[in-house]
């Protein structure tokens, strides 16, 4: 008995000494990763993690990336996004017939004969109409209900506008089921990204009879929904993770290689990295502090997102109403330091507002190509100081105090400190006070214009520069900084109506030029990058620039 006591004490001391030696040991990251599954046959199983639970699998209710990503694997609209972010046929058997009628365009879609729900029943045109009406109905309204209007579908906007005679009248939507396999969509306002939008979750069908039968329980659990995409949920343990299995009823099942995909919710980045290193997962997102450790690893790569970060300059305040002052801030900020040191994840320094590698124009060239390096690209600190001087003169002041509103997460706080340092060290007489607020509080303050400078980010809702540009129209809901330019408004509203693609494109480029060069209304800072680790045996993991974050349909394991 005595002996066993001793053993226990000793083993505890041993365990403890492990912690202590580890404290001083530093991180000599060894190459013993991937210890599992070596030399095994190429089992078509992919293991992934997510940082959040799926809040909703109801296509009309979801609003977040995790949900959209999951839905893209198990559901399918008329189209789905392919490798190059182009819409490719999904539930639609062929490209629709187009017909012009009284200034409206009627698209007639035929649904595939072999389009099936996972219980073997047919996907019918009525399933689309059912889901779309549900999304627009005031009682079950979708947070993304405005997508119908964005797509230009007839009465899409009117139905969700309170006070409109058509408000709530979902049957007035320009979409109807002619028969089980024919879906007719009437478009009152043609937009070039119409087909791309149809890949978005809000436009997916829902199995009408089944959903009605399930009632409140529909789509709450893995076994209370039906799937029409490449995979089905075989398991969904809320808060823990979910598992996909190949959908044998899927029309294109022959193309799908993966048999199974496991997804676990892991919030801690260090844990994610540890799981990756022990071969438990095949892909891991890295935060900036892990980038240096893995930079030279073959499995490391960075991706650029079409998400922009920028500062709103409140033009309702005396100082920031002055263009020179705004220009000084725009130029004084060293973006290279931000992306190379602070972010360190492949993010790009940006002196532009519509992101790179996002959309291509009528000629097939990237929107950014008309001003690849952005605006005032060759100007820097010197010009900033000049602008600052003339700005102060115009104001008749020799010092200015500005409040910098930001959120309370760790990275945002670091970025705010960086901005403060950049501005104060280069612009004499400027004092920046940082105001850190929790996200919801931040939004309220920003919305009520209670700030001088505020940090913002914006990702696209649809593949068109307009998803960025419409923000800063005079009455734009996301303007929030009292920016108003007749010229800008004219260009943006003109581009919304213009049907000639080349002209429209030009108008949007001019609008960006007005916003950035003429008015220096905002200070763009960077375009978001992501640093990831991915095992080399994972092939064809396609990442998308809008809508669902990625597609698993074409993934293949090659060991």
């Amino acid at each position: 008995m005595k002996k066993s006591r001793w053993t226990l004490v000793l083993s505890l001391v041993l365990v403890l000494s492990v912690f202590l030696s580890a404290c001083g040991g530093g991180s000599n990251n060894g190459g013993n990763s991937g210890g599992e599954g070596e030399g095994g046959s190429a089992e078509q199983v992919l293991n992934l993690t997510e940082t959040a639970e799926i809040p909703s699998m109801d296509t009309t209710q979801a609003t977040d990336n995790t949900s959209f990503k999951a839905m893209n694997q198990v559901f399918e609209g008329l189209y789905r996004l392919d490798e190059n972010n182009e819409p490719t046929l999904g539930m639609a058997a062929e490209e629709p017939k187009e017909e012009e009628k009284d200034g409206e365009t009627v698209y007639t879609f035929t649904i595939r004969d072999d389009a099936k729900w996972s219980d073997g029943s047919d996907v019918v045109a009525g399933d689309f109409i059912y889901a779309w009406h549900k999304a627009l109905n005031p009682d079950t309204i979708s947070p993304y209900a405005s997508m119908f209007g964005t797509a230009g579908i007839k009465n899409g906007n009117a139905i969700i506008t309170e006070g409109d005679p058509l408000y709530g009248k979902v049957e007035e939507l320009g979409a109807k089921a002619v028969d089980d396999k024919t879906l007719e969509i009437t478009v009152e306002n043609q937009v070039p990204y119409f087909k791309s939008l149809l890949t978005f979750a809000t436009f997916y069908p829902q199995p009408e009879a089944y959903a009605e039968e399930q009632g409140d329980k529909f789509a709450l659990e893995a076994d209370t929904m039906l799937y029409n995409g490449p995979f089905v949920f075989s398991e969904w343990n809320h808060g823990e993770g979910w598992t996909y299995e190949k959908n044998t009823e899927y029309w294109d099942a022959d193309t799908v290689n993966l048999e199974k995909i496991t997804t676990k919710i892991v919030q801690d980045v260090a844990t994610t990295v540890n799981l990756y290193e022990t071969g438990k997962i095949d892909r891991a997102g890295l935060s900036a502090d892990f980038v240096d450790q893995f930079k030279d690893n073959e499995e490391f790569s960075t991706l650029v997102d079409p998400t922009m970060y920028f500062m709103r300059l409140n033009q309702g305040t005396e100082a920031l109403a002055n263009k020179d002052i705004r220009k000084a801030l725009y130029l004084a900020y060293d973006r290279e330091g931000l992306v190379n040191v602070l972010l360190n994840n492949g993010s790009i320094a940006a002196k532009y507002f519509v992101p790179k590698d996002f959309v291509k124009g009528p000629e097939g060239d990237d929107f950014r190509e008309f001003a690849p390096d952005g605006f005032y690209a060759d100007q820097g600190e010197e010009e900033a100081k000049e602008a600052w001087k003339s700005g102060l003169e115009a104001l008749g002041k020799d010092s200015v105090e500005l409040e910098f509103l930001t959120t309370d997460n760790e990275l945002a706080a670091k970025i705010a400190e960086y901005a403060k340092d950049q501005f104060e060290s280069k612009l004499d007489g400027l004092t920046i006070t940082i105001n850190k607020q929790p996200w919801k509080q931040f939004l309220e303050l920003e919305d009520s214009g209670d700030f001088d400078i505020s940090t913002g980010g914006w990702g696209p809702d649809y593949p068109d520069p307009m998803t960025f540009l419409y923000m800063f129209e005079t009455d734009g809901e996301y303007n929030r900084m009292g920016y108003s330019s007749e010229k800008y408004d004219e260009l943006v509203s003109g581009a919304k109506k213009e049907t000639d693609e080349a002209k429209r494109w030009k108008m949007m480029q001019d609008a960006e030029k007005v916003l950035m060069e003429e008015d220096v209304a905002i200070v763009p800072t960077y375009q978001k990058g992501n640093a990831i680790l991915q095992k080399d045996y994972v092939k064809n993991y396609y990442v998308h620039s809008f809508g669902a974050d990625s597609s698993y349909k074409w993934i293949k394991i090659e060991k």
Binding site: F19, G35, T63, K264, T271, N274, T278, K440
Partner: protein, 309 residues
């Protein structure tokens, strides 16, 4: 004794109702809406969503509705995971948290008592100092540091234990050590002090004088008497385990209740905030009640004092 317990239960219920009411009103002071993409919603949509969840009613009306439902056992549905019952969500999360909490408590208590006893018996020896060093470290090193180090060394470097997930006994070892460290440390220190005090008592000398073997003295007299005050610290320790496992759950990817608790506050998921808060308070109150009752049984003085009023 019956009257004592009865009184305690009534005050317990009152405490519970006060907590429920306070939480409800404090929660209403949180800024923002409970919808996770509120910056993408239009005014009209926010009004519609508020209608759907009854958030446009005056707060007192919402309060009475909530309390009415609560008393009939209905905790409502989550806003964030549309339509899932709060009770279901808590139900599926409580298992791992409870398992881990209990296992850590049992392991930690046993080791802690053991170390405390040894330290006291070998007072001022190398063993005593060693144990106390462990105890001080256990209290002062945050458990997430211990967790991170274990994960790196035992999980990644030596591949002795699984890095994370919740899939069988092997998966519980590292989190248990991390959580139990504070229990071990607290109990070891406490037990040592109590033992030393008891060892100096006259009745120990008497016991030794009447010829009992030293093993009998230690087991029958010292440990038993020294253990009584341990119950005092068990209450707060249990509560600490219930709420303090959050970080550990996150690091080891354990689908427990802690994560739900914190996230619900960040996302303004009112029904979940209420549900988890009430659940934790209820546990807390019950633990205190049990501790009080045990006191009453062990120490008659407390029972008498309670009974008189």
């Amino acid at each position: 004794m019956g009257r004592y317990i009865g009184g305690r239960i009534i005050s317990m219920l009152i405490t519970f109702l006060i907590i429920a009411s306070l939480t409800f009103f404090l929660m209403k002071l949180l800024p923002g809406t409970p919808f996770n993409n509120q910056d993408k919603l239009t005014e009209t949509q926010i009004v519609q969503l508020n209608d759907k969840y009854g958030l446009n009613d005056p707060v007192p009306v919402q309060y009475f509705n909530y309390m009415k439902n609560l008393l009939s056992g209905d905790l409502g549905v989550s806003f964030q995971q549309d339509g899932r019952e709060v009770s279901t969500i808590i139900g599926e999360r409580i298992g791992p948290s409870a398992y881990l909490g209990l296992q850590s408590l049992v392991v930690g208590t046993i080791i802690g008592l053991f170390l405390g006893i040894i330290a006291a018996l070998k007072h001022n020896s190398f063993l005593d100092y060693g144990t106390m060093v462990i105890a001080v470290l256990g209290i002062s090193i945050p458990n997430f540091v211990i967790a991170g180090l274990m994960q790196y060394w035992l999980g990644v470097k030596w591949q002795l234990l699984p890095v994370a997930y919740w899939d069988g006994f092997a998966y519980t070892i590292m989190p248990t050590i991390a959580i139990a460290s504070i229990v071990v440390a607290t109990i070891a220190r406490f037990m040592r002090t109590e033992m030393l005090e008891v060892l100096g008592q006259d009745y120990i000398t008497t016991a030794k004088a009447k010829g009992l073997s030293s093993t009998a003295v230690v087991i029958r007299h010292t440990i038993r008497n020294a253990s009584i005050p341990i119950i005092t610290i068990m209450g707060p320790l249990v509560v600490g385990l219930m709420t303090g496992t959050l970080v550990i759950e996150q690091i080891f990817v354990i689908p427990g209740l802690g994560e739900k608790f914190v996230n619900s506050i960040l996302t303004n998921d009112f029904p979940i905030i209420m549900g988890t808060t009430l659940f934790f308070s209820l546990l807390f109150i019950i633990v205190i009640l049990i501790v009080d009752i045990m006191y009453g049984i062990i120490d008659p003085r407390i029972r008498l004092a309670g009974g008189k009023s």
